[in-house]
Subunit: 192 residues, 2 copies
């Protein structure tokens, strides 16, 4: 093993440890928990290394979150759109139910709202998940499994918005029955 | 005019001025703008009066917001549910498009998420608006104007969630066309 690859592995290990610490601190204590001291303590990475590599802790959080989002999204078989939609809704509910996920989501919404520059920089963070829903809906409309008269944008929002509302506004977790109910509502309106 | 009623009028005037200052400061500068010094400066009410009457600035914000919410909600004529729904969606879009409203909403979501006690105390803040949507949907289902097969909870969320998603997550304002499109989607599914 060369010295360069040992360094790479250490850099990656530090990166993962500091990212994990950031999400953990944010979930436990909100934005107040996001300090370099705290991240150093949780991750075992030195304060100077954190300052050097992650001078902006908000960007650290968004990057960590974006990597989790990307890692979680499988490639759907859109030949069976009703099944792909069921998989998507299950994944989405499971993620939203995770307190870490929901906390980071609320935090990023608040940062983005307060700081337009931050918002512009990270506007693409939910694109991956929305594109997945969009592919499934478009395939289902093309095959007549979902209502083909709905505008695609509206149909995508009918999929992604209700659980988000329930979780962030009503602060409820999403149950199995609610996943089935939304799925039925979307599949039901195919022309007979 | 008695001395007591002069005092009442002054108390009410102070209250209105401090509430207005709180919403204005929050909208302009986020939570960092919410200080007693700033509210005294904006409202002309003394710091000691603010400390005495509104020791918790978060509660001041929620109370001010709740009064705006209640004042904005008319009583609908649910004998014409399609028309009542159109009025509701217009009102809702107009409110969400107001930067003050959206900023306070994001802030309250974030406070509620971070602080379960605060959340419990103010859980009812959106009840009024949700009850209005629920009355309209229930009346429309009973008259066959909206899909009677949808669960009432799901139908209410199909009304309130998409605009909220668009405004808070995508940070877009809600246009006239989007109001019409959601209205059409909900009315369209009445059994013929």
């Amino acid at each position: 093993v060369s010295s360069a690859s040992r360094t790479d592995a250490r850099v990656l290990g530090n990166r993962r440890a500091v990212q994990q610490a950031a999400l953990q601190a944010l979930t436990a204590d909100g934005v107040a928990g996001l300090s370099v001291d705290r991240l150093a303590e949780l991750s075992g990475v030195s304060r100077s290394t954190i300052y050097r590599h992650w001078p902006d802790l908000r960007t650290l959080v968004v990057t960590a979150f974006a990597e989790i989002l990307r890692a979680a999204e499988p490639v759907d078989d859109v030949a069976d759109p009703a099944r792909a939609l069921a998989d998507y809704l299950h994944d989405y509910a499971r993620r939203l139910n995770d307190p870490m996920y929901a906390t980071v989501l609320v935090t990023i919404l608040e940062w983005s709202w307060r700081d337009p520059e931050f918002a512009r920089e990270h506007a693409g963070i939910f694109d991956h998940s929305r594109s997945r829903a969009r592919r499934i809906i478009a395939a289902g409309q093309a095959r007549g499994v979902f209502d083909p008269k709905a505008r695609l944008d509206d149909a995508v929002e009918a999929v992604v918005a209700p659980f988000l509302y329930r979780r962030l506004v009503l602060r409820r977790t999403i149950g199995e029955q609610e996943v089935r109910s939304l799925h039925t509502a979307i599949v039901r309106y195919a022309p007979a």
